[in-house]
């Protein structure tokens, strides 16, 4: 990669990352008002709207920026909600999810949908692992099956949203390099 090019790009990418982090925080707050739990009676189940941002950052900016946005979001969200325990869960899920997604992206046979579904599934696995750690018990593992089914649906919805955003922003020229 051209060094000079990336340096010139930096302020703009930084600004985009800041916007994305703010957007992710807003989305994870709004998510509390969508009662997914009423549809599927499972503790802690949610749509994962903030993952739209991570997915978008991954596809449009690359994994480094996606990681930065995700970690900042987790940290700020834990500070705002005042629950340090939430940090463990979101970071465990987020890191495993991002790692899986960036690996999945290497396969040419997967589109944004497959990558997103794998990411959602990995996120749930990470959270269950964190829960096992907190509980000192494997009882939580029972929830994994339902969470995996849910990941297929939420992952596909997340990809649908991110795909729409990518199309719109690509058309608008914001992501274009020319």
């Amino acid at each position: 990669m051209n060094k000079q090019g990336s340096v010139l790009r930096r302020p703009r990418t930084l600004a985009i990352c800041a916007c994305l982090t703010a957007l992710a925080l807003a989305l994870s707050y709004c998510e509390r008002f969508i009662p997914v739990g009423a549809l599927i009676p499972l503790p802690g189940i949610k749509l994962g709207l903030a993952n739209i941002v991570t997915l978008f950052a991954l596809f449009a900016l690359g994994r480094r920026y996606a990681l930065a946005v995700m970690l900042t979001r987790c940290l700020l969200s834990a500070i705002f909600s005042g629950q340090p325990m939430a940090l463990l869960f979101s970071v465990c899920g987020g890191l495993l999810s991002l790692l899986t997604m960036s690996l999945a992206m290497r396969s040419r046979h997967l589109s944004i949908y497959g990558v997103s579904i794998l990411g959602a599934a990995a996120h749930n696995v990470g959270q269950i692992a964190a829960a096992m750690l907190v509980m000192h018990s494997t009882a939580v593992f029972y929830y994994l099956s339902t969470l995996l089914f849910a990941a297929i649906i939420t992952g596909a919805l997340t990809a649908l949203a991110a795909s729409g955003v990518l199309r719109a922003l690509d058309k608008s020229g914001l992501l274009r390099r020319k």
């Binding site: 990669m1 051209n2 090019g5 990336s6 010139l8 790009r9 990418t13 739990g37 009676p41 499972l42 503790p43 802690g44 991954l58 596809f59 449009a60 900016l61 690359g62 994994r63 920026y65 325990m85 992206m105 396969s107 040419r108 046979h109 997967l110 589109s111 944004i112 949908y113 497959g114 990558v115 579904i117 794998l118 599934a121 829960a131 907190v134 509980m135 000192h136 018990s137 009882a139 939580v140 593992f141 029972y142 929830y143 994994l144 099956s145 339902t146 995996l148 089914f149 990941a151 297929i152 795909s163 990518l166 199309r167 690509d170 992501l175 390099r177 020319k178």
Partner: protein, 144 residues
């Protein structure tokens, strides 16, 4: 500031993709395989964990077993057990099923989780680190 393609960080993952589907927005066959594998994994977990014989309810707090109750023994009067952790969680057993009837935890997910009656099923209260499970799922049987 005009640049040739391939110079910006935005190109990292899209350089080799055709322009029409640069961000891989259209489903590919690998996606369907992914869905099938995850669905299968979820089904296998259910089949392995739930079912089998056993009706002993085990209540644990941070990995420590507090109480073991036989589901079938409780008849008539509901049996209740209160766990005093950071919060207070009340487990009720009646009519062959166990559920968390009351909890002072924020979120109340454990109360909304409903009742369990089959071997291998669990209810978890994460904030209070309490779990209620029914022993005797296939995995329990195998590990003995």
């Amino acid at each position: 500031m005009r640049k040739k393609r391939g110079e910006s960080p935005y190109d990292d993952y899209s350089r080799d993709e055709s322009l029409s589907d640069m961000y891989r927005r259209k489903p590919r066959w690998g996606d369907y395989v992914t869905v099938a594998i995850i669905g299968l994994a979820a089904a296998v977990i259910v089949l392995l964990l739930v079912g089998g014989t056993g009706d002993t309810v085990v209540i644990t707090h941070i990995g420590e077993t507090l109480e073991r109750v036989d589901l079938s023994v409780v008849s008539g009067e509901p049996y209740t057990y209160t766990v005093h952790g950071v919060y207070t969680t009340v487990v009720t057993i009646e009519n062959g099923e166990a559920y968390i009837s009351q909890s002072t935890c924020p979120g109340q997910d454990c109360v909304h989780a409903g009742a369990i009656s089959k071997a291998g099923e669990s209810i978890v209260c994460l904030p209070n680190q309490v779990s209620v499970s029914i022993e005797g799922g296939y995995l329990d049987v195998l590990s003995k």
